[in-house]
């Protein structure tokens, strides 16, 4: 087939076409010229005619040849073929670029924000397809979208707890409760749009929200990942508004939540500074200062703001009654009645008239006999058992021996026994630090001294009781010498020590004692080296102050039937340890301890100022910035206080005498903010004052294995 110059589809054209002298036959499809002559004559019947549109004068030769010889030409590419060829080359160029991008993995959609820039070459850290190659990327693209998978990679580092994917990291029930609080807004255009937009969607409230819904990465190093469009908020908050003036009125802001420290500003000022103008703080900054970010206004703390006036209160200086907490105390017992009715109780301090301390009750809770006895005696006055039944009398007796057993165990085994007993009550182990705080350096000498005062022959009594040798026990106690000992052994440092009670020539000397102490009766009355009384030293020291006063700066002391602890400093470890331990513990013994030491007027007065959390933990400090915790609202105190329009703290925080809130401040009204946060003035964006992620926000720290140790093990 010959190609025609005028045929637009042909690839080659006659080489003479450029000069307007194209031959009729043109080039073939391979670009070869076969037209040596100008035309190819046509035969009609037996004659040949010139086939040119303008027939030449010579006409065709008799043999059918053309009379005009042109010679061969060099066919040229047609216009269309040239376009096709250029297209082809450009297409190849694009394909090359395409392949280069894939091969070089140059398909990053942009630089990461500066916070994530270290992950530039670690795509798999954020993308489940990050480590995939070529065809697998295509297959991944065709997978159904699983935002949970992608979210999991985000929360692997940014830990928002178990509800990471839910709105505001709050549970559905919590969100529902919050929603119910919100009053209905009248219909407006924004609400209409939001309703319309979500009319076709399922209820999203229980579904996980993809992180990428709000956070768009790969937007360059300067991109702010936390910059959120207000409309993102309005996708859920359908009772919407576009201007701050339409924001719902504040409700008790910012005092809706309990403060961590109970402090009523106007009351405190009126009560304490009325006559002491000299120590009255001059301005808010004397006690408050902004945190490092300038957002939270912090209290300066006890040492700077409260110590001067309140340390003595903590140490119990102004306390009426006991200034210490009775930790070990013996209950009063009607021993006479018990003896009269034939119950063997052994010795019991006659001056004991207290109640069994809550701490003792806790320690006894591991002894079933004691627990049973305490239950039976729950509402009884143990100082008068004349009308008690036999069961109650037996319970009283059992309780006496349980107490003695407990004290003897503590005496012989010390902290180990105490720790085991506490751990058993707690059903949990105690760290050394915690336990150390709970016993707060209880001096063994003082403990032993107290026991000697209460039960001079405790170990002998117990030994006979355990052997059920009641006769010997009675004999032991009926010995007149012992009766004397019970009254004469000095009570630690509280009494005047005048006599050398244990001297050979004293009360313990003589035949009576010799007979008791003889080795001939199974050593019943012999004293072990451990049990033996210390050799009393001759002393005539006369204390001019009580033990309670003696430990004015805090510590342990004994007074009659009790061993007390007196708080020493602010953040007293003993009180702090026991309050922490007992506050949230459900056991009634722990609750009893908490009730005792948490009374506002209890020694230490801790909970006069410190409040409890919802989880029954204790706020030991005033509110402090926690980088791992984020609340729903935020406020930049420093920037606002530096503004010309704001005079001082009282511009917003005004005392209210009628408020029942502990701070006694009037709630801040929306009007106070909306005067500046308005159109064409300060920002009205939701995220100016609100955080989306609420609660615990943590960054997962990398674990580093200590290879040096592993190498040693391997070797």
């Amino acid at each position: 087939m010959r190609w025609n110059f005028f045929n637009k589809q042909q690839k080659w054209v006659c080489g003479r076409a450029e000069i307007g002298k194209s031959c009729r036959s043109g080039s073939d499809h391979q670009g070869d010229c076969h037209s040596e002559y100008e035309c190819q004559p046509l035969q009609k019947e037996d004659r040949w005619y010139c086939a040119s549109p303008t027939p030449c004068a010579q006409g065709a030769l008799p043999d059918g040849g053309c009379s005009k010889k042109l010679g061969f030409c060099l066919p040229q590419l047609s216009q269309k073929a040239k376009i096709s060829r250029i297209n082809l080359w450009l297409f190849i160029a694009f394909i090359s670029i395409f392949l280069f991008i894939i091969a070089a993995k140059a398909y990053s959609p942009g630089e990461l924000s500066s916070n994530h820039s270290f992950l530039e070459s670690e795509c798999q850290s954020c993308h489940s397809s990050g480590g995939l190659k070529s065809i697998n990327i295509l297959l991944q693209a065709l997978q159904p979208f699983q935002h949970n998978t992608e979210n999991a990679l985000c929360v692997d580092c940014h830990q928002f707890g178990e509800q990471a994917g839910l709105a505001h990291n709050l549970s559905h029930s919590h969100l529902q409760a919050l929603t119910e609080k919100v009053t209905q807004q009248p219909l407006n255009s924004t609400l209409l749009m939001a309703t319309l937009a979500q009319s076709g969607l399922d209820d999203q409230s229980e579904k996980n929200i993809s992180c990428i819904s709000c956070h768009h990465e790969h937007q360059g190093t300067q991109h702010d990942l936390t910059a959120i469009n207000d409309k993102n908020c309005q996708s859920c908050h359908q009772q919407t508004f576009t201007e701050f003036k339409d924001h719902p009125e504040f409700s008790e802001y910012p005092y809706a939540d309990k403060t961590q420290i109970n402090f009523n500003h106007p009351e405190h000022i009126a009560k304490n500074f009325a006559d002491e103008a000299a120590v009255q703080p001059e301005n808010c900054n004397d006690c408050h200062q902004p945190d490092n970010k300038g957002e939270l206004m912090l209290s300066k703390g006890f040492d700077q703001s409260c110590r001067a006036c309140h340390l003595k209160q903590i140490q119990g200086d102004s306390q009426a009654g006991s200034k210490g907490i009775a930790v070990f105390s013996l209950m009063g017992m009607d021993i006479e009645t018990l003896k009269a009715k034939g119950f063997v109780t052994g010795s019991w301090p006659e001056d004991a008239d207290s109640e069994l301390s809550v701490f003792m009750r806790l320690l006894l809770s591991n002894d079933p006999k004691a627990v049973k006895a305490l239950n039976i005696l729950e509402k009884m006055d143990t100082l008068d058992l004349r009308k008690a039944s036999n069961i109650q009398l037996q319970a009283a007796t059992d309780l006496i021996w349980s107490i003695k057993t407990l004290l003897a165990t503590l005496q012989s085994q010390g902290h180990n026994a105490l720790k085991q007993s506490l751990e058993k009550s707690l059903a949990n182990s105690l760290s050394s630090t915690k336990f150390s705080a709970l016993v707060s350096l209880l001096p063994p000498a003082l403990f032993n001294e107290a026991l000697k005062y209460w039960f001079p022959l405790l170990n002998q009594e117990l030994k006979l009781y355990q052997q059920n040798d009641l006769i010997a026990l009675k004999q032991l106690l009926n010995a007149p010498v012992i009766a004397e000992i019970k009254h004469i052994i000095p009570s630690a440092i509280t009494e005047t020590i005048e006599d050398d009670l244990l001297a050979d020539d004293g009360l313990l000397g003589g035949d009576d004692l010799d007979s008791l102490m003889a080795d001939d009766d199974d050593d019943l009355l012999s004293l072990d080296e451990e049990d033996s009384f210390d050799e009393p030293q001759e002393s005539s020291v006369k204390l001019t102050t009580s033990a309670e006063e003696w430990v004015k700066s805090g510590g342990w002391y004994q007074s009659y039937d009790s061993l007390y602890y007196r708080p020493s400093v602010h953040e007293d470890p003993f009180l702090k340890g026991w309050l922490d331990l007992s506050a949230s513990h459900a056991d009634k013994n722990f609750q009893a301890i908490f009730k005792t030491i948490s009374k506002p007027q209890a020694p230490g007065m801790c909970l006069k100022c410190h409040t409890l959390t919802d989880d029954k933990a204790i706020h030991w400090t005033a509110k402090r910035p926690d980088k791992n915790h984020q609340s729903f609202t935020r406020y930049a105190h420093d920037r606002h206080l530096a503004m010309a329009g704001i005079k001082n703290c009282a511009t917003c925080h005004q005392f209210s005498q009628t408020s029942e809130k502990s701070q006694s401040f009037k709630s801040i009204e929306k009007q106070q903010c909306s005067s500046c946060h308005a159109e064409q003035k300060a920002s009205e964006s939701c995220t100016t004052c609100h955080n989306y992620h609420i609660g615990e926000l943590k960054l997962k720290l990398k674990q580093t294995k200590l290879s040096v140790f592993q190498d040693k093990v391997a070797k």
């Binding site: 076409a17 216009q79 993308h127 937009a197």
Partner: protein, 271 residues
Amino acid sequence: MKLHQRRLLNVSLLVLALLVIVFIQQLNQYTLNNNAFFTGWILLVAVLVLYLFTLRKKITGGKLFLKVSTWMQLHIYVGFFVIALFLFHAGWQMPEGILKQLLYFTFVAETLSGLFGLCITRMLPPCLARNGSVLYQDIKGKQQQIFDDVEQLVEQSLEIKSNTIAAFYQEHLLHFLLKPRDFWPHLFQYKKIIYKFEAEFINLQRYLNEEECEIINKIHVLVVEKNRLDYQYAGQSLLKRWLFLHIPLSYGLLLFAVLHLILVYAYIGGL
């Protein structure tokens, strides 16, 4: 339908389509859905519609697929729609990342070439028609013919024992007549070239006798015709050659767009 009515209808449809897109975008913002996915898919579909025009041009005599001129109208207005959609999708700022930047550049180049093509296909043809139409493929032949005719006239002038015209031809006309000249001046309607020749011819006539004047007048007519053909050549070449840029760029655009689509879904966690 008259031209202005057709244009009014088309522009109205275009504005309506854009308003629908803007409205859906606004709604989307209240659903936490990423608008880029919505605009991206619409953009891809619209670009594929633009490609259908090329396909339709290859089908001859297909009445079922509407007339090519109708497709041309569709191509133009969908093109404008795509430009607006692209701005919704990518924004005015240069995107980050090599692939996205390549895609951006390719789209911008494609758009500019398309707009350029639209301008010249609307502006040049009437000008060319006013200048006297001539088939593009005949231009070079006609210019060759002019060249031959001028050479023949110059030879005639030599036969009357004067080399004034030959010298003039050698010095001023030969270069002009050899091939199409002054491509860009013609495109910008720059008339000084022909005015310069006019002046030369007028100056020359003072040195010619009557017989030579007759010859030079004939050459003058041929030179004016050559100039007209040059204008036609420049205009018609441009009308054909802008597609050399527009069509290959469209292939690149499609390639990069498909790659972009795959990567977006692969790295976002699937479709």
